[in-house]
């Protein structure tokens, strides 16, 4: 048999594209997250605020029955379902904190595990592009975050209509569904970029888990420190939580807590996403370069 001299040949066949090549990555990520110890209880706990707010919607429609709980105060003012109610849920400290904890469990290993086990080359030896990989990983985080944001938001609207028996809420605030979708997507997109950025920084999942938590908490702590010293609201831009709350206030047409233009917060969040994109582009390679 003759032995032919062979060099590397570029594949020039037709690329047969699957419709959603990223979906297997997402499906695997979701399945692995549910297999993790403590994830299911945490996931259930993260839905608790939504249940609590849903109960609030029910009570708001039966306010006379629950008036005794408010000890003479106006129950309608406390439990009124208006844009502020939605803004409160979406920018609630506890909800945001639980979202971070979900990312710690479900998102920390998304890229760091692939880096640790050298599996990037396995991914890219399949008909998969970088953007499919990114999309697959982002969709994993997004799946969980949307369940905590978009799904409850839409359910709040639906149940408000069902409990009140009229569309008055929607006719009064016709933009609310759009705000719910818009804010859910924004917070999900931001946290997805944030998770992937930190997950790509190390091969050690434990390290990534702590960093995910640390950056979020410390950004808020340092805002607190600087705000306490200088009483300058612009320091709220340092805090990821405050930035999300400022943008949330704008989207739900509520007065923001700090007197800082919301667009600055959008710019901060966009900058973090851009850094994430840049880092991911450098880190996600089919071939590992040993230095």
């Amino acid at each position: 048999m003759p032995i032919a001299e062979r060099g590397y040949a570029h594949w020039d066949g037709a690329f047969v594209e699957r419709r959603f090549p990223w979906w297997p990555i997402t499906r695997l990520g979701i399945r692995l997250a549910f297999k993790r110890k403590f994830f299911k209880p945490l996931f259930a706990i993260s839905l608790a605020p939504a249940v609590f707010f849903l109960a609030g919607i029910y009570m708001s429609e039966r306010i006379e029955d629950f008036q005794f709980m408010f000890r003479g105060r106006n129950g309608n003012r406390l439990l009124g379902v208006d844009p502020a109610f939605f803004k409160t849920y979406f920018t609630f400290d506890t909800v945001l904190f639980l979202m971070v904890m979900l990312m710690v469990l479900a998102g920390a290993g998304l890229i760091s595990d692939d880096l640790k086990f050298n599996s990037l080359q396995l991914y890219f030896s399949r008909p998969l592009r970088k953007r499919d990989y990114w999309l697959g990983k982002m969709a994993t985080v997004s799946f969980f975050l949307l369940i905590v944001t978009l799904v409850p938001g839409l359910l709040f609207i639906l149940f408000k209509i069902i409990f009140s028996g009229s569309f008055k809420f929607l006719t009064t605030y016709p933009w609310i569904p759009l705000s719910v979708v818009g804010y859910s997507l924004l917070v999900t997109l931001f946290f997805a970029f944030y998770t992937l950025l930190i997950s790509s920084l190390s091969k050690n999942r434990r390290y990534v888990s702590i960093l995910l938590f640390l950056v979020y908490v410390f950004s808020d702590v340092f805002f607190g420190i600087f705000y306490g010293i200088f009483h300058e609201p612009a320091f709220c831009l340092l805090s990821i939580k405050c930035d999300l709350q400022q943008v949330g206030a704008f989207i739900f047409r509520v007065r923001p807590q700090y007197d800082v233009p919301w667009i600055y917060s959008v710019l901060v969040l966009t900058a973090i996403c851009s850094v994430s994109g840049f880092v991911l582009k450098r880190k996600i390679r089919g071939v590992e370069v040993i230095q």
């Binding site: 993790r36 110890k37 403590f38 945490l42 904890m101 710690v104 469990l105 050690n204 999942r205 434990r206 390290y207 888990s209 702590i210 938590f213 640390l214 908490v217 410390f218 702590v221 340092f222 420190i225 600087f226 306490g228 010293i229 200088f230 009483h231």
Partner: protein, 263 residues
């Protein structure tokens, strides 16, 4: 257990730790209070009027941050690393096939990481102090107060490090538990009334702060909300005893437990 074994394990991990990237990252993180101090002092230099005076900022803010956040984070990461990183990296075999007692492995690594953390902490506290007390550097009382605070932080750091060493030796997935313990239990239960707060390490650390004994308002005042301090003697003895118990339990578990690497 021969002291030489302990020393050789200590130097083994001190050597590794010095080269590790995580050391540089956590050095930077522990340097954040210095950054705050620099920003504040710069603002005093370049802007008219100082918003807060340096010593008060150091006592109220920097020390509170170090106590409530920094030592917890440092101890959580390094403490759980003591066993977990050997399992995750599958390098445990290289240690447990040597003629070194398993207790020496835990204690040697604890000592080495403890020293790293104390250096990080001391650098952070001392530099912040110098930056914020630049006009009072000749005042020995200020130095003594700072060193007293640093001592409390060091005691807390070593106690938390011992606790997380135990958690890491016992649990495979220790981070989530650690986060809930640090920022849930420790940060919440310390404000509970009565004896409940005594179930936190933070209670004993706060009992050692000057504000606890002098009751002077202003200094770390918000940390003292609802605080029913124990006496300094009891606090120190409890912290030392708990550190010893946590370490002994960690050594016992590590010696008895069989660690199987994940495939």
């Amino acid at each position: 257990m021969p002291r030489n074994a302990l020393r050789s394990v200590f130097s083994f991990f001190f050597f590794i730790g010095r080269k590790a990237r995580k050391t540089r990252v956590f050095f930077l993180i522990s340097g954040l209070p210095v950054l705050v101090a620099l920003v504040v002092q710069a603002s005093r230099l370049f802007a008219a009027g100082a918003p807060v005076d340096g010593p008060s900022l150091f006592n109220n803010v920097i020390m509170a941050f170090e106590l409530q956040f920094l030592i917890l984070v440092l101890a959580l990461f390094y403490g759980t690393s003591i066993v977990s990183e050997e399992l995750e990296g599958k390098t445990l075999t290289y240690l447990t096939t040597r003629p070194v007692d398993k207790t020496a492995i835990i204690l040697g690594k604890y000592a080495s990481y403890g020293l790293f953390l104390l250096i990080m902490l001391a650098a952070s506290v001392v530099l912040s102090f110098i930056v914020l007390n630049i006009e009072r550097l000749a005042d020995p009382d200020a130095w003594m107060a700072m060193l007293g605070g640093l001592g409390v932080l060091a005691l807390g750091l070593l106690a938390y490090l011992a606790f997380f060493t135990l958690v890491g030796a016992f649990l495979k997935k220790s981070v989530l538990f650690g986060l809930f313990f640090s920022f849930g239990w420790e940060n919440v239960v310390q404000y509970f009334p009565g004896s409940t707060q005594k179930f936190t390490l933070m209670h004993y650390l706060k009992s050692l702060l000057p504000a606890a004994s002098t009751g002077s308002p202003g200094k770390l005042s918000f940390l003292m909300v609802g605080q029913q301090p124990s006496s300094p003697g009891v606090s120190i003895a409890t912290l030392l005893a708990l550190t010893a118990v946590f370490l002994a339990a960690a050594c016992l578990i590590f010696s008895r437990k069989e660690y199987i690497f994940e495939e």
